[in-house]
């Protein structure tokens, strides 16, 4: 039998993790419990984070939007703060799994699972999110792209958890959006996804663009040099086609059961045109 513990505070969590250093940590459980079925002989205890209130919040703090790691995808979708300032994240949350999965799955779980296809990840990269980690000895903060090291791998030290995500509040003239191509509209793992942060100058010229790509490399990918070439231009079909072609040469897609590498490159070349729709 596997022990299951539900600490109600971070303090309780640190004590439990000290007592059970081998314990698995569970957020929403939508990935972990599927994997656990396949590990029949593994009886490591499970620590469930769902009752820790300190991990649940969405708030504006000065120039940052703070989102607790245990915020569910449904809560991201329902937040007026997110819809107003960082809509790409709400749009991405709405594309995760199905309604019941979105009621269970959390943003922190999505980040720590570190799948290159995780829907909330490209917006977090494009929005330059910082992650705050916490452990019994204190915390540390780093950029999400530093935290995620590879498929399924994140920079969490023994005893640490992801506590919250901090997103710089975008200024005036900024828009953000998320586009996903999957094999169907629900319960689809993305074949290719794109998150766009765009700051326009006078509503016409690109001041700053940051585009992040999902499912086309070992982690979410960004191409700052290609982004920089958008600066000062007006978004037209030819400008976006040029950007897409450049990006499609830079991505590192694999062929898998969902799509071929070649098809994914074509998506990367063409998805930017959606910005005109």
């Amino acid at each position: 039998m596997r022990r299951v513990m539900l600490p109600a505070s971070l303090e309780e969590l640190w004590a439990l993790r000290k007592e059970h250093p081998d314990a698995l940590v569970m957020a929403g459980g939508t990935d972990l419990l599927v994997r656990m079925r396949e590990m029949k002989k593994d009886l490591r205890p499970v620590i469930v984070l769902e009752r820790i209130e300190e991990l649940q919040q969405i708030e504006l703090n000065g120039s940052e939007i703070i989102i607790g790691a245990m915020t569910s995808h449904q809560q991201l979708m329902d937040s007026s703060l997110i819809a107003r300032h960082i809509p790409a994240l709400g749009q991405a949350a709405a594309m995760v799994g199905s309604p019941a999965i979105r009621h269970m799955g959390t943003m922190g779980g999505n980040i720590c699972t570190a799948s290159p296809a995780g829907d909330t990840l490209p917006p977090l990269y494009a929005l330059q999110a910082q992650v705050e980690l916490a452990g019994p000895e204190g915390g540390r903060t780093m950029g999400v792209e530093e935290f995620i090291r590879g498929p399924g791998s994140v920079d969490l030290k023994q005893g640490e958890i992801l506590k919250k995500v901090k997103i710089p509040l975008p200024g005036a003239g900024v828009s953000s959006s998320y586009y996903k191509v999957g094999q169907r509209k629900a319960l689809a793992i993305s074949v290719c996804s794109m998150a766009v942060f765009m700051q326009m100058n006078g509503g016409k010229y690109v001041e700053e663009a940051r585009i992040a790509w999902g499912s086309v490399g070992p982690t979410v990918m960004r191409f700052p040099e290609a982004d920089a070439r958008l600066q000062g231009s007006q978004l037209s079909a030819s400008v976006l086609r040029e950007y897409g072609e450049a990006a499609s040469r830079l991505v590192a897609p694999l062929s898998d059961i969902r799509a071929s590498a070649g098809y994914r490159r074509m998506l990367v070349a063409n998805l930017p045109l959606r910005l005109l729709a």
Binding site: M1, L6, G29, L33, V34, R37, V48, A100, M104
Partner: protein, 156 residues
């Protein structure tokens, strides 16, 4: 360990392995076989239950997570012989064939109509998008939810 929670309006206490899946606890230990296990991996919605009023998948929950929660299964929706308006609409509109997906479909529809009492057909489809049906082709299920929503608005 003892797990205490409210199940279909009744406080219960049951001795269960904490790592038992909620779907097994409900179906095998408590005899509530309305909700089904289809895929066991969160892809089909057949095991849906309401946890504190919100639809969740009982195949991806552990028994220990039920502690202190209010759980409603398909068995808890009707008042005796009187069906919930959504159940009644499924019957009246012929939205059932083999019945395997129906409990999960109804639970998903309850969740939807709590959030949005007046959904458009597209919103109904999205709300049911995590529930697989291999018989009906979905049209009659969408019709039933639409009819139930109308009925429930008229009653309210």
């Amino acid at each position: 360990v003892l797990v205490r929670f409210k199940l279909n309006g009744r406080e219960i206490e049951i001795d269960a392995r904490p790592d038992r899946r909620a779907v097994d606890l409900l179906r095998e230990d408590l005899g509530l076989t309305g909700g089904k296990e289809g895929c066991g991996a969160g892809e089909c919605g057949a095991c849906s239950i309401l946890v504190d009023g919100v639809s969740k998948l009982s195949c991806l929950m552990l028994a220990a997570q039920l502690e202190g929660r209010t759980i409603t299964t398909i068995e808890g929706l009707s008042a005796g012989e009187e069906l919930h308006p959504i159940q009644q609409a499924f019957v009246s509109r012929g939205a059932i064939q083999c019945g395997f997906c129906s409990p999960g479909m109804v639970i998903a529809a309850v969740d939807l109509l709590q959030r949005n009492p007046n959904p458009e057909r597209g919103e109904i489809r999205r709300a049911l998008s995590g529930n697989l049906c291999r018989c009906t082709g979905y049209q009659k299920i969408v019709d039933a939810v639409e009819a139930a929503a109308r009925e429930m608005r008229a009653e309210a």
